[in-house]
């Protein structure tokens, strides 16, 4: 029988690399809500003035990793920990 290990997925967030382009949030809303709108995403980008200060994940984030795969600035990275 195939041995299966439980994989834990983690999203590393690097707000200092985030430029606020919201491609991640657009992809998330499209996948889970069927339409593009960052306000519908399961994540948020918080700005202090015009500069990104924090990236937040909602409790309903599934860690699917789509946001990480589309981020143009490597501000989100999906890690799989066995």
């Amino acid at each position: 029988m195939e041995e299966r290990k439980l994989a834990v997925r983690k999203i590393q967030l690097h707000p200092e690399k985030c430029t606020g382009c919201m491609v991640c949030l657009m992809a998330c809303s499209l996948k889970y809500e069927g339409v593009v709108n960052p306000l519908k995403a399961r994540s948020k980008i918080i700005k202090n003035g015009e500069v990104v200060s924090k990236i937040l994940l909602s409790p309903d984030c599934t860690f699917c990793g789509l946001c990480c795969s589309v981020c143009p600035y490597d501000a989100r990275v999906l890690k799989e920990v066995s």
């Binding site: 430029t19 606020g20 382009c21 919201m22 491609v23 657009m26 992809a27 809303s29 499209l30 809500e33 069927g34 339409v35 593009v36 709108n37 960052p38 306000l39 519908k40 700005k47 003035g49 015009e50 500069v51 990104v52 589309v70 143009p72 600035y73």
Partner: protein, 655 residues
């Protein structure tokens, strides 16, 4: 019916009566003109009566969000504003980063603004809740302050187009700002000021549907991998176009003393180069929604004079070089001047050049200390004092506030000193660089000098790029028929190539991206091409568009814009180089640099300039004598009604 890509609605606001209406987007029009600049230009042609006062209630403002805006399509972030310019009376489109996606998320592809409000107002759009609000609390405040107040009130994530005191006071050289950073410029801010429309605030909670999500991501990945393949990308992201400022200094592209002299390149690089930036500024890259290689920054002075000052820069070289080299000041002081312009909403390109021109006119005795209420010099104090006087329109500075044409009208003999194209200054001087960008703007842009994004693909805003390299970029990011390619790159010549003939296709493709809402700064422009544009458009909207069709629509919109300007009286007499480019050299140390072609293999005189115009009109299939589209060309592009209108007005010769 399901609508993909487009939001499907347009908003109509009449400021005179206060009426607000929504209507369905005319999908036939959307198919013919795509959106953004395309649908805006069609509406402008139909709605702006020839000869109206740009600052009168009859002028119309069109805001358009292209079909790709509001999706994560790479860098589809630009809103297009079309109106009649307050500086030179041309009809054209300014594009700026942002606002368009949020407008789409609120459910609208565009806004049509007519009339003029009796008192200061701002337009608030929260999905279906749309109202005109009293702007007395923010009228008189600067752009940064006003935007912050509006966001505090209506949502921190709202997108805001806002004008500053310069536009309120009807300074024609003012700009509207998008989200405190991007510009809608060259005579457009004052139009909003004349309508007493301080701001447009939008926050949308709806969404845009994508027709074929799988195909969309395939295209996204392909664009992303083309972008990541650019070795210079990390540098663009950190510094924006400042990343090329040092080579600009090396090649003498930034001039001083009313464009007479190249400053010492070593000194300039030490004062305004990247090392100086790293020492003085804390930089935060800023991207508009969906921009995958941003080139804007939020900058903070971390050391020295004005420490703690935080400002924004859309065109990052402006931080140091808009005022620094010409007015002999430090980077810190140059950033301070830039910040004043940002907050008041003044156009740095026109404003900095006009101040330079005023000092020159004063030094040559054409205007007096009494006229100016000050003694102008090439220094920091002059810029600060003049900026305040321009915004308040004090004395002669009220004329400066209206741009180069106003100064030429009031100061006899000033035309011997000023450099302008249709009343606007061009960023680069043709004598130092005559690439496609400079040529297309400096001679032939229907709106006037430098109104398209500076430095576009194929990026001949830098001298010495080999013909083979230009051909390579053209092959990968353009779609030009083989016959035209042979005319642009003649087989019998090895080094040289035909800039005017290529200019046509550069103008067209840029117009096409403006219709879709996609950025075409060269770091983005060279990853897109008409084939990709067609594929992404199909994935987003579900409607097929071939590369040929994209180029045809682009050409249609460009010709329509030209037609709108023919009605305003523009034709071949208005095209051509600024006079001083043809008559006077630039001093570079001991050398004297005269106007020459891009490859610097031949000098250009009046005759050569005429031949360049002829080549361009010929490539466009236009009437060479008058420099305007022929009836046949307009009909071929699906604009027979425009041809008939121009014929009726007697501005199109019957063939």
């Amino acid at each position: 019916m399901e609508v993909y890509g487009y939001a499907g609605k347009v908003l109509r606001l009449d400021l005179s009566s206060g009426s607000i209406q929504t209507e369905d987007l005319d999908m036939d029009m959307a198919k013919k003109y795509l959106g953004g600049q395309g649908t805006n230009t069609k509406l402008a042609y139909d709605m702006i009566k020839p000869g109206v006062d740009p600052l009168g209630p009859e002028n119309v403002v069109l805001l358009g969000a292209g079909p790709l805006c509001g999706t994560p399509a790479a860098s589809a972030t630009k809103v297009m504003m079309t109106t009649k310019s307050a500086i030179n009376g041309s009809i054209g489109t300014a594009g700026g980063c942002g606002f368009a996606p949020m407008l789409k998320w609120a459910g609208y592809d565009g806004i049509v603004i007519t009339g003029s409000s009796p008192k200061p107002v701002y337009l608030l759009i929260l999905d279906d809740e749309i109202k005109l609000c009293d702007a007395s609390g923010i009228w008189g405040r600067d752009i940064f302050e006003s935007t912050d107040i509006l966001r505090e009130k209506h949502g921190k994530d709202a997108s805001v187009i806002c004008i500053g005191q310069a536009s309120e006071n009807l300074c024609r050289i003012s700009l509207a700002f998008i989200d405190k950073i991007a510009h809608l410029g060259r005579g457009f801010g004052a139009v909003l000021g004349s309508k007493k429309l301080k701001a447009i605030v939008v926050r949308g909670t709806k969404g845009i549907k994508i027709a074929d999500v799988d195909m969309f991501y395939k295209m996204f990945d392909s664009l992303m991998s083309r972008a990541r393949g650019d070795r210079g990308r990390p540098r663009w992201i950190k510094y924006g176009l400042e990343a090329v400022v040092e080579p600009w200094f090396d090649n003498g592209l930034i001039l001083v003393n009313n464009r007479r002299k190249v400053p010492d390149e070593k000194e300039m690089k030490a004062k305004f180069g990247m090392k100086a930036w790293d020492e003085v500024l804390e930089l935060h890259p800023w991207a508009g929604p969906s921009c995958i290689t941003c080139d804007k920054v939020v900058a903070k002075i971390k050391k020295g004079e004005f420490k703690g000052l935080e400002t924004t820069a859309s065109f990052t070289p402006a931080l140091g070089t808009a005022f620094g080299p010409s007015f002999n000041m430090s980077l810190n002081r140059a950033v301070k001047c830039h910040d004043m312009f940002q907050r008041y909403g003044l156009d740095e390109l026109d404003g900095a050049y006009l101040m330079d021109l005023v000092v020159d006119l004063y030094n040559n005795g054409l205007i007096s200390k009494e006229d100016l209420g000050m003694e102008p010099k090439y220094n920091f104090e002059t810029v600060v004092e003049a900026t305040e006087k321009i915004v308040k329109r004090e004395g002669f500075w009220g004329i400066v506030a209206d741009g180069i044409p106003a100064v030429l009208e009031k100061v006899p003999g000033a035309d011997e000193y000023a450099i302008s194209q249709k009343g606007l200054i061009e960023y680069f001087d043709g004598r130092m660089i005559l690439g496609v960008e400079t040529f297309a703007d400096a001679m032939l842009n229907p709106r006037g000098g430098q109104t398209l994004a500076l430095v576009r693909s194929p990026s001949t805003a830098m001298p010495g790029i080999a013909r083979a390299a230009v051909e390579g970029v053209i092959a990968s990011s353009y779609y030009i028929p083989a016959g035209a390619r042979r005319r642009i790159f003649p087989a019998e010549e090895k080094e040289t190539w035909n800039v005017p003939r290529l200019a046509r296709y550069v103008q067209d493709i840029n117009t096409g991206y403006n219709c879709l809402g996609v950025c075409y700064r060269f770091i983005i422009g060279r990853i897109w091409n008409p084939v990709i544009a067609g594929a992404v458009y199909y994935a987003v909207t579900g409607t097929a568009m071939s590369a040929e069709e994209f180029m045809r629509i682009s050409e249609r919109v460009f010709n329509l814009q030209k037609a709108a300007n023919i009605r305003e009286g523009f034709d071949r007499k208005d095209d051509g180089f600024p006079k001083r480019w043809l008559t006077e050299p630039v001093k570079w140390g001991e050398k004297e640099i005269y106007l020459q072609d891009y490859t610097r293999t031949r000098y250009i005189d009046e005759k050569g300039a005429k031949a360049m115009l002829d080549d361009y009109y010929d490539e466009r299939g236009w009437d060479l004598k008058r420099g305007i589209p022929t009836k046949g060309k307009l009909v071929q592009l699906g604009l027979p009604d425009v041809a008939a209108d121009l014929e009726k007005r007697g501005v199109l010769e019957v063939q």
